[in-house]
């Protein structure tokens, strides 16, 4: 068999195939629920209800989506330029660490000054963490998939070291946990009385900004050109190395904002379980969004809903919560296949 490009895919094909993919994924997940001894229809209903069924559930989903929008954007920006950033987890913790270092009283400034400083400091830290691997890639050809992945482990161990050493909360009863941020360093609630914080708004602004960069600026054009064909881009006079470094700067900075917003908006302090793999989930978010920055918002909401819904379902129906990860993995794999099949058809020789 081989693949043959379809000159003009029909609308049914473009919309139908991803729909088929998602339907099959849901059927597979229901099957797993059945295996686990649950009623598949009830399980799916409980997931949806747990994700969007009440005001509390909806806000929980929006909160959970916030770091995923940031890491999803980080991955989308990088992947578009074929910079395979698998290290959003490390960059996230980088942003969180600098937020705690500067925000627990080191900079006794009013919120109006301190918060922007924390945003910039976080972005710089995350950017630096990706610049290293990007530099190694452009100068020495060291594969950034491996270096960014390994950096995740190093970063987590480093954070663990800080939390048991210099950043340890003396009042923390021995738990590896940082001191709490001063009130001026906390992101305010978006709406009074609700748990949703300004990090969500910041994430939406970031998505819009990335969209503008990608579609309306020279850098966006260059990033796309480098991603499509580095050799052609080089031939056209685009400084490929410099574009990759700029992309790394943007990508790392965005991932770090996930750490900043989780600490300053939600948790108030740093612990080792700040991120249950937001950096890795960002890859799924970005792929489901076809690397489109506005699509990232939609897919982050979907992925967050699946996680939040599955957590609440797991408690209610006694089905392992890992079903959420399986669902997302299947969605990811079937979606990339469906998207391919909208542009190509399989021909038998």
């Amino acid at each position: 068999m081989r693949l043959e490009a379809i000159p003009a895919p029909t609308l049914t094909r473009t919309l139908g195939l991803p729909a088929v993919a998602l339907t099959l994924t849901v059927i597979a997940a229901s099957g797993l629920a059945l295996v686990a001894g649950g009623d598949p229809f009830a399980v799916l209903g409980l997931i949806v209800q747990g994700a969007v069924g009440s005001k509390f559930a909806l806000l929980e989903t929006l909160n959970r989506a916030t770091p995923l929008i940031f890491t999803g954007l980080a991955v989308a920006v990088a992947f578009r330029a074929k910079l395979w950033n698998i290290g959003a987890e490390a960059q996230l913790y980088g942003g969180a660490v600098i937020t705690v270092v500067l925000g627990t009283g080191f900079l006794p400034w009013p919120a109006g000054v301190l918060l922007p400083v924390l945003v910039i400091a976080s972005m710089l830290t995350g950017a630096l963490l990706l610049l290293g691997p990007a530099y190694l890639k452009t100068r020495l050809g060291v594969d950034e998939v491996v270096t960014t992945l390994l950096l995740n482990f190093i970063a987590l161990l480093f954070v663990s070291m800080l939390l048991e050493g210099p950043l340890k909360d003396p009042m923390g009863m021995g738990w590896p946990k940082s001191e709490r941020l001063i009130p001026e360093a906390r992101l305010p609630r978006l709406v009074d009385g609700l748990r949703l914080h300004w990090g969500f708004a910041l994430a939406l602004i970031a998505a819009a900004a990335v969209w503008v960069i990608q579609t309306r600026t020279t850098l966006g054009y260059e990033m796309r050109a480098v991603g499509q064909n580095p050799d052609a881009a080089r031939f056209a006079g685009i400084p490929v190395g410099a574009v990759i470094l700029k992309t790394a700067f943007l990508s790392g900075g965005l991932a770090a904002l996930a750490g900043f917003s989780e600490v300053a908006g939600l948790k108030g302090s740093l612990t080792l379980d700040l991120s249950p793999g937001f950096g890795y989930t960002g890859i799924i978010v970005a792929m489901l969004a076809l690397l489109n920055p506005l699509g990232v918002v939609v897919s982050a909401l979907f992925v967050a809903g699946v996680f939040v819904g599955a957590d609440s379902m797991s408690r209610a129906a006694d089905v392992p919560t890992y079903i959420a990860d399986i669902l997302l993995a299947l969605a990811l794999l079937s979606m990339v296949l469906a998207i391919l099949l909208t542009r190509f058809r399989v021909v038998r020789d």
Binding site: M1, L136, G141, V145, V146, L149, L157, S160, V336, L337
Partner: protein, 314 residues
């Protein structure tokens, strides 16, 4: 002086060989995939699946070698999925690989929870016991280190030898290497690039799963979450470190394992009191990155690695 004492002890070298064994299986598996032109980032998840499948088979009553075969089969299934998506369909090997890792890991954890819902501490199995090779195991230093290991360790070294032999001494190996270097030439010979690549990914994934099974069937004797703990990613670094050659990759795995065994022992010495233990745990990863930087100067990456081959387009 403490370091010298450690390096001269047989128990240290025995530990290093033991730690290297799962890495050798998985590294050879990854190397076969990459030599045929496919980067397999599913390795981490496939190792988790293999660790569980082999252990579960033995726990439910099969003998140990059947358990190894079950793990191999489980790995081949995920390899088949990976190969189908990346070879004939040519989907992004990064995305598919990470998707397989997520799928295999979460499906394994799910299966574990479904199979043993009430269990809080994972049950142990009668795992592989060390087998002392007659005469050789009596050698000083070498004997306890090399020839008093479990049969799976001997198998790991055999697999490394077989991989090297197949790649460099057989027509199949030539064809596999060509599929990763110059697929058009393979097609011109009347061989199927798709078939070669899919076969490499399926067999390679089987080996990765056996590497995972080593953890449950020869090292820890039970299955628990997070037990693979990044070993798969280390194997990807080892393939690069070994410049895509089985011999050098084997050496890399041994070096890495020796280093890992050393850091555990150093933590118990005077150094461990002064330096946070996280630094020791970080060292293998830092070492991997440094090794990649050093090796990059003369990297011999398979030319068609990560390049999908579509018959008829070139």
């Amino acid at each position: 002086m403490e370091i010298l004492d450690i390096l001269l002890s047989a128990s240290f070298w025995a530990a290093a060989i033991r730690i290297a064994s799962p890495l050798i299986f998985a590294t050879m598996g990854e190397l076969i995939c990459e030599r045929a032109g496919v980067l397999n980032l599913g390795i981490e998840g496939i190792m988790v699946a293999g660790a569980f499948a082999g252990w579960m088979a033995v726990y439910t009553g099969t003998d140990l070698w059947t358990g190894v075969a079950v793990a191999f089969g489980a790995g081949m299934l995920f390899g088949l999925l990976h190969a189908t998506l990346t070879v004939p369909f040519g989907l992004s090997q990064h995305v598919v690989g990470l998707g397989i890792t997520l799928l295999a890991t979460s499906a394994t954890y799910f299966a574990y929870r479904v199979a043993l819902p009430e269990v809080s501490s994972p049950p142990r199995i009668e795992a592989f016991q060390p087998y002392e090779i007659p005469l050789l195991s009596d050698l000083p230093l070498l004997g306890p280190a090399l020839f008093s290991q479990t049969p799976l360790t001997y198998l790991a070294f055999a697999v490394a030898g077989l991989t090297a032999f197949t790649l460099y001494r057989t027509p199949l190996g030539l064809a596999l290497r060509a599929a990763g270097e110059n697929p058009s030439a393979v097609e011109a010979q009347g061989l199927s690039v798709t078939g070669l690549r899919m076969g490499a990914v399926i067999v390679g994934s089987g080996l990765m799963a056996v590497g995972g099974a080593f953890l449950t069937m020869s090292a820890f004797n039970s299955f628990f979450f997070e037990m693979v703990n990044g070993r798969g990613w280390i194997c990807i670094a080892l393939v690069v470190f070994g410049a895509w050659r089985p011999g050098k990759a084997l050496l890399g795995a041994l070096l890495f394992a020796a280093f890992d065994a050393l850091q555990v022992r150093l933590q118990q010495t005077g150094l461990g009191a002064d330096i946070p233990y996280q630094v020791f745990l970080m060292l293998p990863y830092i070492l991997s990155i440094l090794a990649l930087i050093v090796m990059s100067r003369r990297a011999e990456v398979p030319a068609a690695l990560m390049v999908p081959y579509n018959k008829g387009t070139r």
